[in-house]
């Protein structure tokens, strides 16, 4: 056995562990979205169901556990998050770009100072940015009396856009700096020399050159904004974004609807990435084709390789895809065989749980409670908890999770 095989083998194991570490939790979470149980879990597996993507569930005790489709707080949060994301993109991309362009113009020691100041916001804790934005605008709103300033100064979405832009524009700045470092400044000079005005140089030379950076800065700004919590939680005031909604849900106990949401987001991301890749490859192929055409048209006859053909190539990800297909088929057959899919399964599970629940209630009812026991006397086993679990009305009074 040659040593390279061994190294490849170890490398494979390493990569597997690495990816398992990265994606394992996400995969587990995605699977829990299809379990009909009230808590995200894989074992015990109740039934395979899409309910958490749809209407959720009215629980046996009367609570409504909302699904992805019926959870209006989640919807409101997503809408706010989208608005904030759009606002952050429109603010931080131009700010980052302008700052990066300024950096290329500044020479001397000022450059270092300017650079340090520009990247400082990413070094601040997000919490502080959030709080300070609120404090500042609260004062400003107080100054202006009733009116525009006072309105926007107390508008959570507006404040969140400002607060997030503070540090997200710095990430945009870094993206633009990286791209501008490779910019050949003589191109600007050439354009000037050919009679272009400074504005024309900017729009015809610099912006086209920066367009890939603009795209990636926009995507990154949006993603950072969408997933931000620690700044947002302060600056959002009485509104809610997706992250704050999720956080408040987690505090009360998570529902598989969140798994469903996570899976949806992951799926959207993968689809977007795949679409981008497909489009990119298409463009590349089109480009190669035109080049080939040029070569055929222009080159001398004896310089064309007549035997040149593009052979069929096995796609590289084929093994992964095959493994996924096998697992899916296996999972599906298991589910069908054990009758784990469909309304009948869910009904059965519910009935079982309901009967267990009433058994428990009945058991509780059966225990005679005296004053002595409730005040935590020497008798009774529940004194450690002040016996709150001994109260039969506890679950009935509780309004449910929403």
């Amino acid at each position: 056995m040659r040593p390279s095989y061994f190294i490849n083998f170890m490398m494979g194991i390493y990569i597997f562990i690495f990816f398992a570490y990265l994606f394992g939790p996400l995969i587990i979470m995605s699977i829990t979205a299809f379990n009909s149980a009230e808590f995200p879990s894989i074992t015990p597996w109740e039934c395979f169901s899409f309910r958490w993507f749809n209407e959720g569930k009215i629980a046996y005790d009367g609570q409504h556990l909302a699904g992805l489709l019926t959870d209006w707080r989640l919807h409101d949060g997503i809408i706010s998050s989208l608005i904030i994301g759009a606002g952050v993109v429109t603010l931080s991309v131009p700010i980052g770009m302008a700052a990066a362009i300024v950096l290329t113009q500044v020479r001397s020691q000022l450059r270092d100072i300017f650079y340090s100041i520009s990247i400082m916001p990413v070094l601040f804790p997000g919490v502080i940015i959030g709080i300070s934005t609120v404090v500042l605008w609260d004062r400003l709103a107080g100054l202006g009396g009733e009116g525009f300033i006072s309105d926007i100064g107390r508008n959570g979405i507006f404040l969140t856009i400002l607060a997030q832009t503070c540090f997200i524009s710095t990430y945009c700045f870094l993206i633009f700096v990286a791209r501008l470092q490779r910019f050949d400044q003589t191109q600007e000079e050439a354009a000037l020399d050919l009679g272009a005005s400074q504005t024309q140089v900017f729009f015809k030379i610099l912006v086209p050159y920066l367009s890939p950076a603009i795209a990636s800065a926009a995507v990154i700004a949006f993603l950072f904004s969408f997933e931000n919590y620690n700044t947002t939680v302060f600056s959002i005031l009485s509104d809610q974004t997706l992250t704050t909604v999720i956080a408040s849900k987690v505090r009360l106990g998570i529902s598989p609807a969140l798994s469903a949401l996570a899976l949806t987001i992951i799926a959207l991301t993968i689809i977007a990435a795949a679409t981008y890749e497909v489009l990119r490859r298409r463009a590349e192929k089109r480009y190669k084709d035109t080049q080939e055409k040029f070569v055929k048209e222009k080159a001398a006859d004896n310089r064309i390789n007549k035997n040149y053909k593009i052979g069929f190539k096995v796609p590289r990800g084929i093994v992964t895809i095959l493994i996924l297909v096998v697992f899916t088929i296996y999972g599906a057959t298991q589910i069908l065989k054990n009758d784990l899919y469909g309304q009948s399964c869910i009904d059965a599970a519910d009935t079982e749980k309901k009967s267990k629940f009433y058994d428990q209630l009945n058991a509780l009812d059966a225990i005679e409670l005296s004053e002595e026991e409730l005040s935590g006397g020497e008798l009774g086993g529940n004194q450690d908890y002040g016996d709150i679990f001994g109260d039969p009305s506890l679950f009935q009074d509780f309004g449910g999770f929403d």
Binding site: D184, T186, Q187, E189, A190, A191, L192, D193, L194, G195, A196, S197, Q200, K204, I205, P208, Y209, Q291, F294, K298
Partner: protein, 365 residues
Amino acid sequence: MSADVELSDVSVTFGSFYAAKNVNVKVNGGEFFSFLGPSGCGKTTLLRAISGFQEPSEGKVLIDNKDMSGIGPNKRPTALIFQNLALFPLMSVSENIAFSLEVRGVSKEERKKRADELLELIALEGQGDKKVHQLSGGQKQRVAIARALAVEPKVLLLDEPLSALDLKLRQRMRTELREIQKRVNITFIYITHDQGEALTMSDRIAVMNEGELEQIGKCDEVYNNPLTPFVATFVGENNPLYGKVTGIDGDKAQIETADGQYLAMMNESKKLNIGDESIAFVRPESLFIPRDGDNFDNKINVNIESFEFEGNLKNFYARLQSGAKIKFSVPNAIDTSTISSGSSIALGFDSSKSVILPKASLAID
């Protein structure tokens, strides 16, 4: 349409450093004029002063007798071809060429027409849709020229545009450039550190060193009558013979060196007096192995050290008795089988083919 370009006492400083110092030169309309000088001597700086990217710290740039101070590069009747060409990589060849028309608001059809004309001028018909990086080095070169010509400049400024090309292509582009210049008949100001390039293409050249002009003149004038030891050794090759002036006879001077006395031509503007420290220069191709009937007024004894075959020439490296090195070249057609390393021979050269100049530093190769 072409224009005169005049630099009057132009100096450019970076901090306390003179990148160009007191440059005075007048380039005539329609002329192919070259600035020749070693790397870092300030050629690009001068060109940037003419095109408007660099305001001179002293002096004036005049184009068509109009003072250009305060006029930006986009307002001057010049077009610059950059050292690295600076083509726009995101645009097609045609878009590159028509860029100057686009920013002037010329209509699309008009631009296309003009781009096609220029493509024909540079012999790249039908290749306007290519991207810049699909072109070869020489083609890029020509696109850069076409792009500059599209502005219809009165003066075209070229900053070592051929330096990135290989020798054969460079030679071909020289002729092409020269032809294009004749066709469009505008002033070309060309910059190079390659003396061969300057000599073959230019009407006149200016030799620069350390930010200052050393000599301006026609090519043969500069080659045959260098004004300074720097020019003598930078333009072509030259053997220096160090010594003192011992006699003056009309326009010739006698120089006494460690290896003997030689007679050489004095330059009118660089008159010498007896006793002056000076250098006589003789070019490798002006040193001859005397044959019967030859009568040279200077004789020089050398010890052959080594030999090098260059193709059309055979170069011999030798030493004088004092140890000074000397090089001479013999056309390949001449039989030199009798000359071997270590042998000692006498060479001759004509005083009219040798110049004597006041002592100063040489161009260090």
